[in-house]
C-alpha cells in the first residue's frame, strides 16, 4: 500500500506529493513479474527546477515555476476566475448541469475508486483516487463560491489551503485520469469524477492557457493550421494514400484506387490520420473492403476552411472551443461534398466527438448524418455478397473495447458479431463491453511521451489492459502461437503498441495487435491470403 495521503497534502511545500513504487503495483503473470519491469526514467533536474513537477514521479504540463510572489498570486487569481466561469451558464453551458450535480452530490463513498484502473494498478495510491482531485476542487468551490463558504465550508466540506502549489498540482492531476468514465458508471448517485477532471482541464486551457502541448500545440492547433495533427497537408496525404493503394494492391491482388473528393458520394470516410502514417494497412483494408463491396465512398482533401482527412478532435479532452472549431470544420468537409453521411474510421474519440458530443454543436446544414464504421462493416460482412474464409484467421484473437465507442456510445455488438463470424478463436477479455477497462492511453495519453510519461503510462495507466490481454491469452502465451489484439481505435492501438514494446510482448509471447478491418480483409476471399503480416510494427 502506498503512503496514505491527506487532501491537505496537495497544498504543502514538499518536493513531491506522492510516489509510485513499482513493487507496489499489481503483479502480472510470468514472464511479466514485477521484478522484470523496467525502472522508471527519473525526471531530470532541469525539469524539477524549471517546471511545477512536485505532484508525483512524472510530468505532462510543463508549467513554469512562478518566479515571484506576484506570479504565484496571479496563478491563484486566474484559477479562481476560471472556476467562477466554469460555474456560469454563459461560459460553460456545455457542461454546467452535470458538473454542478457532480460537485454537490458526492457521498464520498469511494465506490468509484475500486473501478479505476489507475488507482488500483498503482497499488491503491490515494493520489489517483477519482475522488482525490474532485475533493480538492470541491473544497475550493464550497469555500470560495458558496454563501458563507469562508466561514462554514471547512466544517461542512473540509478545508483547503489554496496556494500556487495547489493550483499547479491540480492542473497536473487533471492529467492522471483517462476520462474513461468507468468510475461514473459505478457511482450509485451518478456523480462523474471523470467529468470533473475534464472540466478542470478546460478551466486551465480556456482561462490560463495551460494545456498539454501534444493536445493543443501539436494537436488541435496544428490540425487547424495544416489540416492534420500529423502535419500532413493535402498533397502529402494524397501521396501517402497513393503509396498505400499500391501496397494494398500488391498484397491483396486487387486493383485498389482510393477515391478523392467525389461530390455526391454516399459516404465520406474520415480516418484518424495517424493511421495513414503509423498503420497504413488500416486504410488499405478499408479501401479493399469498400471497393470489393461496391460502396460509393470518398476521402476528402479539405484542409483549410474544412477538415476532411483527419478525424481527430483533441478538444474533446481539454477544451470545448477547440472541440467545436474542429467538429464544425469536419462537418463542413462533408457539406462541401454533398455526401449522404460521414463514416468514422477506427478511432474511438473521433466517434464520440463527432457523433455524440458535437451533436449539440452542429445545427442546420451542418448537422450531417454521422455513423460508426463498425456498423457499416457489419452490414458489409453480413450482407452476403462478399465471401469470407474464417480459417485464414485461425489464431487467438481478443477484442479491446475503446471506451469512447463502447461505454460512451453503446456500440458494443457490431464488432463482436463480425469477430464471431470471421475469427474462430475469438475470446473476450474480462471484463468487456461497457464494463471494459481503458487501454491506459485514453484522453490523449497515447500521444504523450514527454519526460518519463511513457513509464507511467505503461506501468500505471496501461497495466490493467496488460493484465486483461495476458488473461485473454493465458493458456496460449507461448511465443510459438501468434496472437492478435483487435483494437478498433487509433489511440488505443498506439497505447497497445507501446505496451507490447515496453513489456517486450512480441518476443516473449508473440502478441501482436491491429484493427478490425484488417482481420476482415485478411479472410476476404476477394483478396489474396496473408494481409496481416506477423511482425512487430
Amino acid at each position: 500500500m502506498a503512503d496514505k495521503l491527506k487532501i491537505e497534502d496537495i497544498s504543502k511545500d514538499v518536493d513531491q506529493v506522492s510516489h509510485v513504487n513499482k513493487m507496489e503495483c499489481t503483479p502480472l503473470p510470468e514472464p511479466y513479474g514485477l521484478e522484470t519491469m523496467p525502472d522508471w526514467k527519473k525526471l531530470s533536474d532541469d525539469a524539477r527546477s524549471n517546471y511545477c513537477a512536485s505532484l508525483d514521479d512524472t510530468l505532462v504540463l510543463n508549467i513554469p515555476k512562478p518566479k515571484s510572489k506576484e506570479e504565484e498570486d496571479a496563478l491563484v487569481r486566474k484559477f479562481l476566475s476560471g472556476l467562477e466561469k466554469l460555474f456560469s451558464k454563459e461560459n460553460n453551458w456545455t457542461f454546467l448541469q452535470p458538473l454542478t450535480l457532480s460537485m454537490e452530490n458526492c457521498a464520498k463513498c469511494q465506490t468509484c475508486s475500486d473501478a479505476c484502473h489507475i488507482y488500483t494498478s498503482s497499488g491503491k495510491n490515494d493520489l489517483y483516487r477519482p475522488t482525490y482531485r474532485s475533493e480538492i476542487l470541491r473544497r475550493v468551490y464550497f469555500k470560495y463560491f458558496k454563501p458563507g463558504g469562508k466561514y462554514f465550508a471547512k466544517w461542512r466540506h473540509g478545508d483547503i489551503d489554496l496556494n500556487w502549489r495547489t493550483v499547479t498540482r491540480l492542473a497536473e492531476l487533471a492529467y492522471r485520469c483517462n476520462l474513461c468514465r468507468r468510475c461514473a458508471q459505478t457511482c450509485p448517485i451518478g456523480v462523474d469524477n471523470a467529468l470533473i477532471a475534464h472540466d478542470l482541464r478546460k478551466l486551465f486551457s480556456q482561462e490560463l492557457g495551460i494545456h498539454a502541448k501534444e493536445l493543443h500545440d501539436r494537436g488541435a492547433m496544428l490540425q487547424l493550421k495544416v489540416g492534420s495533427s500529423t502535419g500532413m497537408n493535402p498533397e502529402v496525404v494524397k501521396d501517402n494514400i497513393e503509396f498505400i493503394d499500391e501496397d494494398t494492391s500488391e498484397k491483396t491482388g486487387m486493383d485498389i484506387k482510393t477515391p478523392w473528393d467525389v461530390k455526391g458520394a454516399d459516404i465520406l470516410l474520415i480516418h484518424n490520420a495517424g493511421e495513414i502514417l503509423a498503420w497504413p494497412e488500416n486504410h488499405g483494408a478499408f479501401a479493399a473492403l469498400f471497393q470489393a463491396a461496391g460502396i460509393s465512398w470518398t476521402l476528402s482533401s479539405e484542409s483549410m476552411d474544412a477538415l476532411g482527412y483527419d478525424n481527430i478532435n483533441y478538444g474533446l479532452f481539454y477544451d470545448d472551443f477547440m472541440l467545436a472549431k474542429v467538429a464544425i470544420k469536419h462537418a463542413k468537409a462533408a457539406q462541401k461534398l454533398g455526401v449522404k453521411k460521414m463514416v468514422l474510421g477506427e478511432c474511438g474519440h473521433a466517434h464520440k466527438a463527432l457523433t455524440v458530443i458535437a451533436d449539440r454543436v452542429l445545427t442546420g446544414d451542418l448537422n450531417i448524418r454521422r455513423e460508426s464504421s463498425m456498423t457499416l462493416m457489419e452490414e458489409i460482412v453480413f450482407r452476403g455478397n462478399l465471401k469470407f474464409d474464417p480459417s485464414r484467421n485461425d489464431f487467438p484473437v481478443t477484442l479491446h473495447d475503446p471506451c469512447n465507442m463502447v461505454r460512451n456510445m453503446g456500440i458494443v455488438q457490431p464488432q463482436r458479431r463480425i469477430l464471431n463470424r470471421i475469427a474462430p478463436r475469438f475470446r473476450e477479455m474480462t471484463p468487456h463491453g461497457v464494463e471494459n477497462y481503458c487501454c491506459g492511453g485514453g484522453s490523449g495519453f497515447a500521444i504523450m511521451s514527454g519526460h518519463n510519461f511513457e513509464d507511467w503510462r505503461a506501468q500505471v495507466s496501461g497495466r490493467k489492459k496488460m493484465e486483461q490481454i495476458l488473461g485473454a491469452f493465458k493458456d496460449e502465451l507461448d511465443p510459438s502461437i501468434d496472437k492478435y489484439v483487435c483494437a478498433p481505435c487509433s489511440n488505443c492501438k498506439g497505447q497497445i503498441r507501446d505496451l507490447i514494446k515496453y513489456y517486450d510482448m512480441w518476443n516473449k509471447s508473440h502478441i501482436s495487435y491491429g484493427g478490425l478491418v484488417e482481420l476482415i480483409v485478411n479472410c476476404m476471399e476477394d483478396a489474396k491470403p496473408g494481409f496481416i503480416e506477423w511482425e512487430m510494427h
Binding site: N105, T111, D126, W155, R156, G209, D320, T363, R407, V412
Partner: protein, 310 residues
C-alpha cells in the same frame, strides 16, 4: 407564546423549509442550460439493448430507425436502484451492508409518517385507529407500529454502521468532513430519541397521531402529551429541513444524474427543440481569457467556435 405553540410553529417552519429547499434546488437544476450529450451506457430506456449496454448507434443508418424510449426499461433499473441500492450492492458490498439498512430504514420511516398522517386523518373524521378498531383502523394501527420498529431499527443500525466505517476505513475517513460525521450523528440522535419515545412514551403512536391531527387542523394549542414525543417530532422535522441543504439532496437530484445525463441520448434533429436550444445557447457571451479564446464578454460562443486561429 406557549411552548406548545412554539413547537407547532417550529414544525410548520421546518416542513415549509424542506419543501421550499427541495423545490428551489430542483427548479434551479431544471432551469440550467441543456448540456452537450454525455450519456453513459447502458441507457435504460434502450429496452432490449440495455441488457448489454447497446444503443441505436449500433444500427446502420440509425436515424432512420425508431428510437427505443421504453418506460419499462427505465423502471426496470430505477425501482431496484431506489429500493435496493443495486449499484452499491454490485460495486461496494462493504458499504452496502451499512447503507442499505440505513436507506431502507428511512423509506420505512417515510412510510411511517404517511401512516401517522393517515391515522390522524381517520381520527379526525371519527374513525377509530386502535387494536380494537375495524379492519382498516386495526391495519393502520399495527402497520404503524411494525413500520416504526423495522424502520427505526434498520435506520439506526445503518447510521451507526456508517459512522463506524467512516471512522475506521482510511479511504472513507480521509474524505469525511466534520459535516459528514455530524450528519450521521444527527441521524443517530434523532433515531435514538425516536426509539426512546417509541419504547417508553408512545408505543402505539396514539399521542403522535393526536398531535399530528392538531397540526393538520392548525390547533396550535393542542399539547403533545409527552416530552419525549415532542422532542422527537421537533428534532425529526428539523433534520428533515436540513437534509436537502446537504449532499443528501441526492435523494431527489439523482433524478437529474440519471434521466438528464446518463440516459439523455436525445439526438439533435434539424428544426427540433434541441436545435432551438443550441441556437439560443451558442449566443451566450463568453469571457474565457486564454489567448486562443480572448473572450471579452461581447464575443459569443459561436463567434469563437467559428473564428479562424491566428
Amino acid at each position: 407564546m406557549s411552548g406548545t405553540v412554539l413547537i407547532h410553529l417550529i414544525i410548520y417552519a421546518a416542513v415549509a423549509t424542506f419543501g421550499g429547499v427541495v423545490a428551489y434546488r430542483f427548479f434551479k437544476m431544471w432551469r440550467m442550460p441543456m448540456h452537450l450529450r454525455w450519456e453513459l451506457y447502458p441507457v435504460a430506456h434502450e429496452y432490449a439493448k440495455a441488457r448489454y449496454g447497446g444503443s441505436i448507434l449500433e444500427e446502420i443508418d440509425w436515424w432512420t430507425k425508431e428510437r427505443d424510449k421504453s418506460l419499462m426499461g427505465e423502471l426496470r433499473v430505477m425501482i431496484p436502484e431506489m429500493t435496493l441500492l443495486v449499484a452499491l450492492f454490485e460495486h461496494n458490498r462493504k458499504l452496502w451492508y451499512r447503507s442499505f439498512p440505513f436507506h431502507f430504514g428511512l423509506y420505512c420511516l417515510a412510510g411511517l409518517i404517511g401512516l401517522i398522517v393517515l391515522g390522524a386523518l381517520m381520527e379526525l373524521i371519527g374513525m377509530d385507529v386502535s387494536a380494537q378498531a375495524g379492519f382498516l383502523g386495526a391495519a393502520v394501527y399495527y402497520a404503524t407500529i411494525a413500520l416504526a420498529f423495522v424502520g427505526l431499527t434498520l435506520a439506526f443500525a445503518g447510521a451507526f454502521g456508517l459512522y463506524i466505517l467512516r471512522k475506521t476505513d482510511h479511504g472513507l475517513r480521509e474524505f469525511a468532513s466534520f459535516g459528514t460525521m455530524f450528519n450521521l450523528v444527527a441521524f443517530m440522535a434523532v433515531l435514538g430519541v425516536a426509539w426512546l419515545a417509541f419504547a417508553f412514551a408512545d408505543g402505539d403512536f396514539e399521542l403522535t397521531r393526536g398531535f399530528v391531527g392538531g397540526l393538520i387542523t392548525f390547533d396550535l394549542n393542542r399539547p403533545v402529551g409527552s416530552f419525549l414525543v415532542g422532542l422527537e417530532v421537533v428534532l425529526a422535522t428539523l433534520l428533515m429541513a436540513y437534509i436537502p441543504m446537504t449532499h443528501m439532496s441526492h435523494f431527489f437530484l439523482k433524478w437529474f444524474t440519471y434521466h438528464k445525463i446518463r440516459w439523455d441520448d436525445e439526438p439533435n434533429e434539424v428544426g427540433s427543440d434541441v436545435e432551438k436550444k443550441i441556437i439560443e445557447q451558442v449566443q451566450y457571451p463568453v469571457s474565457w481569457a486564454a489567448d486562443h479564446i480572448k473572450g471579452d464578454g461581447r464575443k459569443n460562443w459561436v463567434d469563437i467556435a467559428t473564428e479562424e486561429m491566428e
